[in-house]
Symmetry: C2
Amino acid sequence: MFNPAVFELLKTDSHSKARLGRLTTTRGVIDTPVFMPVGTQASVKALDSRELLEMGTQIILGNTYHLSIRPGMEIMAAAGGLHKFMNWTKPILTDSGGFQVFSLAKIRKIKPHGVEFRSHLDGSLLFLGPKESMNIQRIIGSDIAMVFDECPPHGASAAEMKGAVERTIRWAKECRVQPRAEGQFVFGIVQGANDAKLREHCAKELVAMDFDGYAIGGVSVGEPEPEMMSAVEITEPHLPAHKARYAMGLGTPAQLVELVARGVDMFDCVLPTRVARNGTAFTRKGTISIKGGSYKADFTPIEADCECFACKNFTRAYIRHLLNVNEILGLRLVSVHNSHLFLKVMEDMRTHLAAGTFHEFRQDFIAHYRPTEKVLLARQLHAAEKQDR
Amino acid sequence: MFNPAVFELLKTDSHSKARLGRLTTTRGVIDTPVFMPVGTQASVKALDSRELLEMGTQIILGNTYHLSIRPGMEIMAAAGGLHKFMNWTKPILTDSGGFQVFSLAKIRKIKPHGVEFRSHLDGSLLFLGPKESMNIQRIIGSDIAMVFDECPPHGASAAEMKGAVERTIRWAKECRVQPRAEGQFVFGIVQGANDAKLREHCAKELVAMDFDGYAIGGVSVGEPEPEMMSAVEITEPHLPAHKARYAMGLGTPAQLVELVARGVDMFDCVLPTRVARNGTAFTRKGTISIKGGSYKADFTPIEADCECFACKNFTRAYIRHLLNVNEILGLRLVSVHNSHLFLKVMEDMRTHLAAGTFHEFRQDFIAHYRPTEKVLLARQLHAAEKQDR
C-alpha cells in the first residue's frame, strides 16, 4: 500500500524552509503548498463544485465526525463514497474525527481503544477510535486519511498532554494497519502542544511507522499566534523532508505565508467561508467588514485586480446591500472571494518558489497585510514576555 | 415615448386563446409566453446572474417597495440604476409597490394621491402614490414599469372593490404622464376581483389610456384557483390583442399552462424559489418534498431528463442531505431546478405554439401534473357549487 513516490520535493527556498512540491494521488496531482477548502458536511459552505474548480481548488477536506452522523455510513456506502455522493472528482482529505470528538462532543470518556461520547446533535452514545475512524474513512473513500489522534485543548496540563501524546502514538499504530480504500494514503498527526521534547518524541515515533505524510496537530485550538508558530517550528525539524507536511486548521493569509516559510506544505481552514457569513472579506491588506456603512455607495469590487467571480461581476455596494437584506447571494459572493484569495495566495507562493523569489514575495506580503487587533496584541505580549526573561 | 411595435403577436393557437409573441425592449427581445424570476431585493433568491442566464431567463422582476426601502433610491441613483447595481444586462420589469403597500405595510391610510403607510421594516412613515412610484421606477431604470394600483385582499366588499378600481383608474392616469427612464414601457393594471362589470370597466378605461401592455392584478391574493382562472377569463376579452398581457404573481406550472391557454403572455411568481427553501421541488408531475426520508438513498436526479445544473450534477439523496444539515447549497440547488423547470415549461409552450401542437402539449401536461391537495379541493368545491346552482 505504501508508495514512496507520493510526495516529490521539487525545490526548497534558499532563505527559508519553504518548499515547492507535488503530491500524486490516484485522483490527480496536487501542487504544494496547497490550501484545502473545508467541506465539513459534504459541501464547502455556500459554494458549489463548479465555483471551487474555477477558483483552482485542487483538493477539499471532508469531516469524518460530521459525515458519520449525517448522512451516515449506510448512505455513504450506498452512494459509493464521498466523491460520488457530492460529485467531486478531485482528491479529498478526511480528518479522523479526533478533533471534533474533543471539541464538539459532549461527555466524553477516553478508553484504551478510542473515545466514548455523546453526539452533539441528539445526545446519542457513540464510540470512535482508530479502528472505527479508519473504517469510516475507508467507506468515505478519501484520497488521504488521517490517523485518529487525541487533540487536547489549549492550556491542557503537562500530564494531560503527555497522556494524549502516548495515546496518539498508540492509536496511530492501530490506524497504520487498518484496511484502506484503494489508493488511500494515511498521514500521521504529531501532537505535543508547545513542549519541544514531547513534539520530538511524537514525531519520531510516527516517522518510524512510515506514514505517507505528517500533520502538525494541536494547533488552531485557541492558542495565540506566537505559540502556533512555535509549535510548528519545534515539530518541523523532526519530519522527513521527502514527505508532505500538513498544519491542521490554519490560518489567515499572512499566517499561511509564514507557515510555508516554516516548511509546511498543506493547509485547511474554515476561515474563508466562516467569516464570509458575517460579511467579512479577506484582502491582501487584511480583512474588511463589507457590511460597514462606508461601503454603501462604493461601486468598486471587494478587491481591486481580483479575478474571482464576485470581484469580476459585483461591487462592494451591491454585496453590502445583499448582506444587509439577508440575501444568500451576499454571503456566497464573499465566500467565493475569500476562498479564491486563499487559493490565489498559495498559487502565488508556488510561482515565487519556482522562480526563486519567495523571499521577496513573503516580505512584500507581510508588509502589506494588516492582521487583526487580536493577533497584533498577541504578538506584542509575546515580544514583551521574551524581553522580561 | 409610446412605441406601437413593442409587442408583436406572432401566432394564436387554434384550440385556445394561447398566443406566441415577441416583446422588444431596448435591452433585448423577450419571447412570449415568458416567465419572469422574481428578484425582490435586487437578487433572485439563492441564484446568481450566471445561473439565471444558463437556465434561459429573459427578464427578471424587481420590487419597487423593497428597493425603495433598501438600498434606497440614493444608492440606486448613484449606482446608475438596478441593471448596473446588480450587474444584470437583460430586461427588468418593476412592480409599482401597490401590492406590497396593501399586503406588507402596517397601518395604511389611503389618500387621494397615494397611500400613507408605515414601513414593515422599522415602522417609519412613508408615502407611495402614482408620482412617487413612477419616480422610483424611473430611478431604478426598469424596462417595463407598472402603474401604481390599489390591490384589495381576497374577499374585500363590493364597495371596497369599486373604490379600489376607481382609484386604480385615476392613479393610472397620473402614472401615464409621469417622466420615464429612457425606453421604459409602462403597463396598466386591471383590478376588479371577480366582478365582470368592474373588470370590464377598469380594462376599458385603461385601454383608452393606451398603455404599452396590460396586467391582470388582484390575482394571487389568496383566492382559490377557480376564482383566479375566472378573473383572467372575464378580463382577457377586454384587452387589446396587439398588446402584451401579464398575470401578476402566478402560478404553478400547470396553472401557467392553463393561463397561457386563456391568453396570458407574461408571468412572475415567487413559488420556484420560495418552496425551494422548504425543500420542495417542482416536477412535471407535481411537487415532491426532497427532505422526505424516502429519498435518503435515492441516487437519481430530482427529475429524470432534466437539463438543469442541479439535475445534471447531483442526486436527490445528496440534496436531501444538504437540506437536512442546513447547507445553503441544498436550497440553492432546488431553487435552480425549480426556476429552470418554470422557464423550460414556458419554452416548451413557445415551441408547441410555433409548431401548432399547443393543444396536445396542454392536454398531456395537465394529465401528468398532480396539483396540491389544496388546489384539488378548491376545484371540487367549485364544481359542487356550480352543480348546486
